[in-house]
């Protein structure tokens, strides 16, 4: 029943065959290679992978805020049907103000330490709301937003400086600022990673609730598979700048097909206490000279000749479950 529901929803973001490399003092580092995923309205999409696999680069590409030395080799990012790399400056600015917004990993560095929350919040809202909105109205919007993220005593919070708030409270303020501007798409970059597990749980529940209540969309980026399982409906597993597996979260976790996904899941310590896996042999490839074919092939126990020379297509092996592996159905 859910499947029909999702299919009807319209697409808010589409990333098509996105490849990005970086010019590092004359040497080219090929980071993203053919990233492909979609976010529909009201959908919670996860990007998960280990550090350095290109999760944050992908998010930066979505907002078109890649650093100057980035080169977009091919592909496009369509936000509501418009390519963000081709947007005019004012259009792009409007998209960032009210269309898509980021929630960062570390709320302490996302907020400015020398301004009160009130000052930062109202400045942010000023650009997102119509020009004739009075400061009083902006203040009220901000207070309401703080109430929505379950921060009691919003007036006191507004007068506080970031150092007077705890990590969890700061993260709530950041979420409130992103949502109060009326954004439709949240880019949550490891929103709970720098927090304690009980606080992370609270923040993730809050984001889920806000997304479901207001019919927003979210791209949840995390390195923790558990976080992704509990807070997304669709997941993309990334390895070394490629999407190796994607599908509905329940499906992928129940029945992982890509050798990397399987290996990664076995490395996560389980509460059931069945011991620890030995880890994945080898290292993440050097992006200056990435493997020619499948980027996981040098570490893959099932790799054959073809894996080393030709990049596997992102193929649908059963309805709604996509895997980039030649032997997905044979080995596992």
């Amino acid at each position: 029943m859910e499947k029909v529901d999702i299919a009807r929803k319209d697409t808010i973001l589409e990333v098509k065959d996105l490849s990005v490399s970086f010019d590092v003092y004359g040497r080219i580092s090929h980071v993203l290679d053919g990233i492909i995923f979609k976010v529909r309205k009201g959908e919670r999409v996860g990007l998960v992978g280990e550090s350095g696999c290109g999760k944050t680069t992908t998010l930066k590409a979505v907002l078109n805020v890649l650093p100057k030395n980035a080169i977009i080799d091919r592909g496009e990012v369509l936000f509501e049907g418009q390519n963000v790399f081709r947007m005019k400056d004012d259009h792009l600015a409007a998209m960032r103000r009210t269309g898509a917004g980021m929630i960062f990993q570390d709320p302490s560095s996302a907020l400015n330490p020398v301004f009160s929350i009130e000052k930062q919040f109202i400045t942010a809202l000023k650009y997102a709301k119509p020009k004739n909105t009075s400061t009083k109205e902006l203040y009220d919007i901000a207070v309401e937003a703080l109430n929505n993220v379950m921060l009691p005593d919003a007036d006191r919070i507004m007068k506080s400086f970031p150092f007077q708030l705890s990590g969890g409270m700061k993260q709530r303020v950041c979420i409130a600022m992103t949502i109060a501007a009326g954004r439709q798409l949240l880019l949550a970059d490891e929103p709970g990673t720098s927090l304690d597990v009980t606080i992370q749980d609270q923040i993730l529940r809050l984001i889920n609730k806000l997304v479901l209540d207001n019919h927003l969309s979210v791209i949840m980026v995390a390195h923790s598979l558990g976080v992704i399982r509990e807070s997304t409906s669709y997941v993309n597993i990334m390895y070394a700048g490629t999407v190796v597996e994607s599908g509905e979260t329940a499906d992928v976790f129940h029945n992982p097909k890509h050798p990397y996904t399987v290996a990664l899941m076995s490395c996560v310590p389980k509460l059931t206490g069945k011991g620890i896996a030995k880890g994945i042999p080898g290292r993440v490839p050097n992006y200056m000279v990435p493997p020619k074919g499948c980027r996981f092939s040098p570490r893959c126990p099932y790799a054959k000749e073809i894996c080393k020379t030709e990049k596997p297509p992102h193929a649908e092996i059963c309805p709604g479950h996509w895997v980039s592996c030649y032997f997905a159905n044979e080995v596992i």
């Binding site: 280990e50 550090s51 705890s166 969890g168 409270m169 304690d196 597990v197 009980t198 606080i199 992370q200 749980d201 609270q202 993730l204 529940r205 390195h223 923790s224 598979l225 558990g226 976080v227 399982r229 509990e230 807070s231 976790f253 290996a263 990664l264 899941m265 490395c267 996560v268 310590p269 389980k270 509460l271 059931t272 206490g273 069945k274 011991g275 620890i276 896996a277 030995k278 880890g279 994945i280 290292r283």
Partner: protein
């Protein structure tokens, strides 16, 4: 049972602030550790986990209480311990990037403890540092490399090798893998487990990751605002968590499988945040976030109580029966 090597009794560590206030980082902790055993110490940030570790290695002097290590009380010695005592207790820090000197090649870092604790010749030390690398499963060539050219997991294993240089019997692991990815974490942890068996090491394993704890610890102790909430053998602890805080922690963990989901206690929604250790609430430190709190919890500090062999809980709910 193996020999008891460490006995901590009523350990307190207070840090005075300028305005006559006191941070009670560790406020009356009792722990014991046996030879070859892993004790897991779990808690949120600010609960005093690392302070306990630093007092044990002598970086801080305890404010009060006793630490009996193999018969000697080392609570108040600080760094004025005998060379042997210092060598016996070693520590591995969380971030290998900053705990290894980036200007020194690996060999030099490994030779520092050797030159202090042994009377080896330089050539012997060089050889021993290569042996140490091989002991933790790294190629001996790493001796000539700088830490920045190595991966995070490899650097952490070098920190382990450095800790092993003095032949310790107790190694304190202060969040040894929380800066690492899971696939690398798995490698480091399995090596640590091998080393423990080989060398009969006792580990005090500090972490905030309960799923990891389940797989490495023999016994688990939960710390909240400088006090212990619950202490139990690992299997027992995860099957029937008793303290309301433990239940909240367990039900907050994001897990991978439905099987694990069943292990969580009925969803105890996490509420509130850990209070500042400057103003520890009166009575039970956890009562502000507890859903079972009774009037007594706000007034009286609960005592540690044994509920089954090896399983202790510090909560008024279990004090009556």
């Amino acid at each position: 049972m193996a020999e008891k090597i460490l006995y901590i009794k009523n350990l307190k560590k207070y840090f005075p602030l300028k305005n006559n206030q006191v941070v009670k980082a560790v406020d009356g902790v009792d722990l014991e550790l046996h030879e070859g055993e892993t004790l897991g110490l779990v808690g949120e940030s600010g609960s005093g986990k690392s302070t306990i570790a630093y007092v044990l290695v002598g970086m801080y002097e305890a404010t009060d209480g006793d630490i009996i290590y193999k018969g000697d009380n080392i609570a108040k010695t600080g760094l004025n311990r005998t060379l042997k005592q210092r060598g016996e207790i070693q520590i591995v820090f969380q971030d290998p990037g900053s705990s290894l000197n980036s200007k020194r090649i690996v060999e030099k870092s490994l030779m520092v403890p050797l030159s202090i604790h042994t009377k080896m010749s330089k050539a012997d030390m060089k050889k021993r540092s290569r042996d140490l690398l091989e002991e933790v499963g790294l190629p001996a060539e790493f001796a000539d490399k700088y830490p920045r050219t190595l991966g995070g997991g490899e650097r952490q294993l070098i920190s382990v090798a450095r800790a092993l240089a003095t032949n310790p019997s107790l190694v304190i692991l202060d969040e040894p893998t929380s800066a690492l990815d899971v696939s690398v974490q798995a490698k480091v942890i399995s090596k640590l487990i091998d080393l423990q068996k080989e060398l009969q090491l006792a580990y005090l394993f500090i972490t905030h990751d309960l799923s990891l704890m389940r797989n490495v610890a023999d016994r688990v102790a939960i710390l909240y605002l400088g006090r212990l909430c619950e202490q139990a053998p690992a299997a027992d602890f995860f099957q029937k968590p008793l303290h309301p805080y433990t239940q909240m922690l367990l039900s907050s963990i994001p897990v991978l499988t439905a099987e694990e989901e069943k292990m969580k206690p009925a969803k105890v929604l996490s509420i509130g945040e850990i209070p500042s250790p400057v103003n520890v609430p009166p009575g039970c430190a956890f009562h502000l976030r507890c859903r079972y709190k009774k009037p007594i919890c706000m007034k009286e500090r609960p005592a540690m109580k044994g509920v089954s062999p090896g399983h202790f809980v510090c909560c008024h709910l279990f004090n009556d029966n």
